[in-house]
Amino acid sequence: MRDYIIRRLLLIAPIMLGVSFLTYATFNIIPGDAAVLTCQFNCTPETLHDIRHELGLDQPFYEQYGNWLGGIFQGDFGKSFFGGLPVTTELGRRLPVTGELMIMTMFFALILGIPPGVLSAIRPGTVVDWIARFTSVLWLSVPSFYLGILIIAFGVIWFGWTPPQFGVRGTVSFFHDPWLNLQTFFFPAIVLAVGISAVIMRLTRSSMLEVMRNDYIRTAWSKGLRERTVVWRHALKNALIPVTTIIGLQIGALIGGAVIIESVFKLNGVGVYVLEAILRRDLLVVQSMVLIFAATYVLANLLVDLGYAWLDPRIRYG
């Protein structure tokens, strides 16, 4: 197990290096001069030259890449071309928003995904099964941004309710005002969660159906155990192992979904930050943030893989 962890960690390094290089190269083949973008109105050749020097644009390509990467290792993700705010400052303000959104989303996704999946698997062909399967296909198909817009629009039209807005201040922390905080995050998290829960539900169902056919389940029945014990103690534990993998894969959807849902509900999180940077062509910010997203995704998947190995002792990684 320890060797496996070390090997996986070593494999991460080249991938992250490749990711950083690809990100850097991609965003630097874009034509257009960051210096011209930055100085906006008072552009004279001298100021342009100064700005270029300040941003390090007069250095060769590999040196710029090295500087950027070196900065990241020291926790410096660069500054925005506009306003000059360091990426880390913005991150400090916005990460809690996105973090809370993602944690709540995952929570709802598991709650809405696993119990219906189990119910539908232990009562196949019944009304419960049919409803669970149909709603899961439905949630799989309705795009999160559409659902979000509908909730906002009909919330106003029918109930005169709007989600709390905070503008640039970010959001109110859970410890400061829990009620307002939950009001802010409940709907974005639910909207994002239903799509993920549908995937989890479908996988739970099929994996549960598979497990319920096993001999040891038959043994449990013939011992005269109650249904509850058989299902929750004996079957579910094993049925959930494949589900952990899909949860890891869904973290990618979660990050992408956060970008979309933050812009729907006007939450001032990391996703909105990236989107604004893209629309302004604030490439250094986009570049650093894309790298951070990729790193999060890779690390999350690593954790899930390790968790998988830990949960399922049958799996031995040579």
Partner: protein, 339 residues
């Protein structure tokens, strides 16, 4: 249902319904009503996409301020938006945009992905390592983030990819198929296609690894066939079915991706009716003031199309592999005799 029982020829006259394809299709349809619904949704998408001009009651860009923000009525079944444009016509035309982007993206992605996948799987060793490590790196990006990055780069007014597509491909300039600036849509489709190709390359490579172990590959090589010929004549035909399936899986994903990036404001540009773009901007502000129809119907169309593809896919899987279906074998409760 033992369909394949050998029936003596003279008996065939007596039960003609047995082999009649129409009857078999009807039977399948009765067993999979949701699949039929899915087929209808997908069919409607293709129908609207193909005949958008013929069936839409108005032009999608007919601005008519006198009838702005009108609620659904007989004249405008889906209402009109802030400029008085007919929402029904825009929704119908949105099907064409979705379909165009989806088909171009999938065709491009599948072609490129299959090419690299076959090469990677066939040659193995160094070539395989290089291609697969590149795939690893690209797959390390969360999908939407990857797409946003690609679109940011190639969607730029004077990006090299855009210029290349404009100058070096037989790309119709300006309006084509009723789309104002066709190049914009083409660039987005290629961006989505790049993302599709990466996934395809990985899956195809896996299939090729298995296929190339077959004896007939060895035989072909022994007969002196070149690598290119083996790949073209012996490997590709064997992955073709898989590639088609992959294409049908990626089509709704590509459609959804187009809607998502258009919704985020980096996709299909303004006047062109895109289901994703119509959900945002001024339409969204209007929706908060009670004018819900300009966002409701395009989104509904998008959801129905994706739902259709999903239901159709589920039905196909049920038909091809009945073991995965609910009723058999599984189930809770102590095993009862006969069940």
């Amino acid at each position: 249902m033992a369909r394949e029982v050998a029936v003596p020829l003279e008996l065939e006259e007596e039960r003609p319904e047995r082999g009649r394809p129409l009857r078999r299709i009807l039977l399948l349809a009765r067993q999979h009503p949701l699949g039929v619904f899915g087929l209808l949704c997908v069919g409607l998408l293709f129908f609207c996409g193909l005949f958008a001009e013929v069936i839409s009651p108005y032009d999608w860009n007919d601005i008519d301020f006198a009838h702005a923000k009108e609620a659904p009525s007989f004249a405008h079944p889906f209402g009109t938006d802030r400029l008085g444009r007919d929402v029904l016509s825009r929704t119908i035309f949105g099907a064409r945009i979705s379909l165009l982007v989806g088909l171009v993206a999938v065709t491009f992605g599948i072609t490129v992905g299959t090419f690299f996948g076959v090469i990677s799987g066939y040659f193995g060793k160094f070539v395989d390592s290089v291609i697969q490590r590149c795939v690893d790196v690209v797959l390390a990006f969360p999908p939407i983030v990857l797409l946003l990055a690609i679109i940011t780069v190639i969607g730029d007014e004077d990006s090299a990819v855009r210029k290349f597509l404009a100058n070096s491909t037989p790309m119709p300039e300006g309006t084509f198929l009723g789309v104002p600036v066709f190049l914009d849509i083409f660039v987005i489709a290629v961006g989505i296609g790049i993302a599709v190709s990466v996934g395809t390359a990985r899956v195809v490579r896996g299939a090729v690894l298995a296929i190339k172990e077959n004896v007939y590959i060895e035989a072909a090589r022994a007969m002196g066939a070149s690598d290119a010929r083996i790949m073209r004549k012996h490997i590709f035909p064997n992955v073709a079915a898989l590639v088609v399936v992959l294409g049908s899986v990626f089509l709704p994903i590509a459609i959804l991706a187009e809607a998502a990036i258009s919704f985020l404001g980096v996709g299909v540009p303004d006047p062109t009716p895109s289901w994703g773009a119509d959900l945002t901007g001024p339409n969204r502000e209007d929706a908060l003031r009670g004018v819900w129809w300009p966002v409701f119907f395009p989104g509904l169309a998008l959801s129905l199309v994706v739902l259709g593809f999903n239901l159709l896919g589920d039905a196909f899987r049920d038909i091809s592999d009945p073991r995965l279906r609910g009723g058999l074998g599984g189930g809770s409760g102590p095993p009862r005799g006969g069940l």
